[in-house]
């Protein structure tokens, strides 16, 4: 896997490409799959998307790993195989 952080130009291309899916999340997922991490640009874009503005100088040191973990967890969910007919646990009845 190429772990080199992507350039702003590449990132912009990905964003442009993901416009069709309408999701900055998808761009982040693709970047993390390709590079194993998120660039600072991507992290900031995700924060913008969440409406969150870091205000303290060292916030990004902990916010970025949290975003990376969320994106990684999302991929784990996506990769998990399930029978096609299995419905969600909408109505929660543990005695099912």
């Amino acid at each position: 896997m190429n772990k080199k952080p992507i350039s702003r130009r590449s990132f912009s291309k990905i964003i442009a490409g993901s416009f069709l899916t309408g999701s900055v999340v998808e761009a982040a997922v693709q970047e993390q799959q390709r590079t194993g991490s998120l660039s600072d640009d991507t992290a900031m874009t995700l924060l913008d998307h969440l409406g969150y503005k870091p205000t303290l100088p060292d916030e990004m040191k902990t916010l970025k790993p949290m975003l990376e973990t969320t994106i990684r967890n999302l991929q784990t969910i996506r990769d998990f195989q399930l029978p096609i007919a299995l419905e969600p646990a909408f109505v929660f009845h543990p005695e099912r």
Binding site: L46, H49, E59, M66, L67, T69, I77, H93
Partner: protein, 486 residues
């Protein structure tokens, strides 16, 4: 630390006959607890509000009723305390948070109503981490100190209930659990804790955090007391659509012969070398009771990730109205908490639906597992409670990496899954809404409690309690009392 200790350490089983016969006055018992709280709670910090006048009033009423031969049952005249996320009419209910520090409800929570109607005596409201989750300092009134070693934590978020039961500041306490908050503090504080099947206890009047994972349950100095309290508080409530009524029976003399116990191999294998002998002995005890003990591997599911997405999305939704106004972020001590919720809400709807489908798969697989076993067992808190460490000046991003601290940051060495405490059995138990009991199973070489957790199939609360009780009574760990060591 002998402030009324010989009286205050007693259990419901020991106190109720004395109260019923008139040998012990509920007023004298309540006064004994109030004195003990006043003298010792400054060391522990488990009470946010002590309801002294109300307690004495309720104790007096109980005494009069019992003298008039109107005995209501084993909780009549018994002093207790509740986690400060349960509404109490006219008494502030802070949810452990600066944001709600002056909140005064105009109603009682269902559990408080039931305990009052059963003749219980409310001593006060207990500390908790803010909005039911976070590290030791994430509580507006400061950290709660473990009564076994005061410079150590209790684990959360039912920090106050765990400490209260261990310090014998009440006969029992009521806590809540989303992913670890009853069994975690019970394990760290060396007391019994019971997390009922999801939906068996009404959450009316309880702070919501995760609608599909929150449960209320007792912490006490014996499993039998937990069963007695549950008998009073369980049942349907039209004000809580998730609450159901179901039969409950607890037989303290239930035979364990042939009871099928699955010991979760991965979690037993993870026990540190120093604690191995404790858990080897625990397994021997189970076998000596006649249980059929077998190693089991839990089905391979991303329990922690499912748990985390569910409670963070649900919790974020609960408090979003405060976040929109900026009030939540301003008030939170653990700033990463809100961010963790927000980050989880990045999940697209279709993927969240997948989370819920995986959750359903976990429930179905778990049902199959419980066709082979009556109860699953795993170690908990195997290295003892952690020290309370004052963090450096809080930055907004500080906190556990990976999506923010779990709502019940169980950092007591239980091998917590990514979604909350207690390793995979703990996380599985909460994702699937299963009943669980924590029982003391020994001590570390530094004098801190360690525990064994028992988990059963949904709605088998009685069976899980019976099994845990049998183990407890075959050992003497529950007979030791907190030492308030500095």
């Amino acid at each position: 630390m002998n402030i009324n200790e010989s009286l205050c350490v007693q259990t419901i089983d020991q106190l109720a006959p004395q109260i019923k016969s008139g040998k012990l006055s509920p007023v004298a018992l309540t006064q004994a607890y109030l004195e003990r709280i006043e003298a010792l709670d400054p060391k522990v910090n488990c009470f946010i509000t002590v309801t002294k006048n109300l307690a004495l009033e309720q104790a007096k009423k109980a005494e009069e009723e019992i003298k008039a031969k109107k005995y209501k049952g084993p909780l009549h005249g018994i002093p207790y305390a509740v986690k400060d996320l349960l509404a109490t009419r006219g008494i502030r209910t802070t949810w452990g948070s600066r944001l709600f520090v002056n909140q005064v409800p105009d109603h009682d929570g269902a559990v408080v109503e039931k305990l009052r109607d059963a003749g219980g005596v409310l001593l006060g409201k207990l500390s908790m981490t803010e909005l039911a989750g976070g590290p030791p300092n994430a509580a507006f009134n400061g950290p709660v100190h473990n009564p076994w070693k005061l410079d150590h934590w209790t684990t959360g978020s039912s920090t106050g209930p765990g400490a209260c039961a261990a310090a014998s500041f009440a006969v029992f306490a009521i806590g809540s659990e989303t992913t670890a908050s009853i069994l975690g503090p019970a394990s760290a504080c060396g007391v019994a804790g019971f997390r009922p099947t999801y939906g068996r206890v009404s959450r009316y009047g309880c702070m919501p955090l995760s609608w599909t994972m929150d449960k209320l349950g007792p912490l006490a100095r014996s499993v039998s007391d937990c069963a007695t309290v549950f008998q009073v508080i369980h049942g349907a409530d039209p004000r809580d659509p998730t609450a159901v009524s179901a039969p409950f029976a607890f037989d303290s003399k239930a035979k364990m012969t042939g009871r099928r116990i699955g010991i979760v191999k991965r979690e037993f294998d993870q026990v540190p070398a120093k604690a191995k002998s404790i858990y080897e002995d625990a397994v021997k005890v189970l076998k000596s009771l006649g249980c059929v003990v077998e190693e089991v591997d839990l089905p391979d599911y991303p329990y922690g990730i499912v748990s985390r997405f569910v409670w963070q999305v649900e919790g974020g939704t609960v408090f979003e109205q405060y976040a929109r106004k900026g009030e939540l972020q301003e008030a939170l001590i653990n700033k990463s908490k809100w961010f963790g919720w927000k980050a989880a809400m990045l999940i697209p709807a279709a993927d969240y639906m997948k989370v819920l489908r995986i959750r359903h798969a976990i429930i179905l697989e778990t049902n199959k597992l419980f066709q082979r076993f009556d109860v699953l067992v795993a170690p908990r808190n195997t290295t003892g409670a952690r020290p309370i460490v004052t963090p450096p000046t809080q930055t907004a991003g500080a906190g556990a990496p990976g999506g923010g601290a779990a709502p019940d940051a169980d950092a007591g060495g239980g091998g917590g899954g990514a979604g909350g405490g207690g390793g995979n059995l703990g996380t599985l138990g909460n994702v699937a809404g299963l009943p669980g009991v924590s029982v003391p199973s020994g001590f570390t070489d530094t004098g801190l409690p360690v525990a064994l957790n028992f988990v059963g199939a949904a709605m088998t609360d009685g069976k899980v309690l019976e099994t845990a009780y049998a183990y407890e009574q075959a050992t003497s760990w529950h007979e030791r009392h907190a030492t308030f060591t500095e």
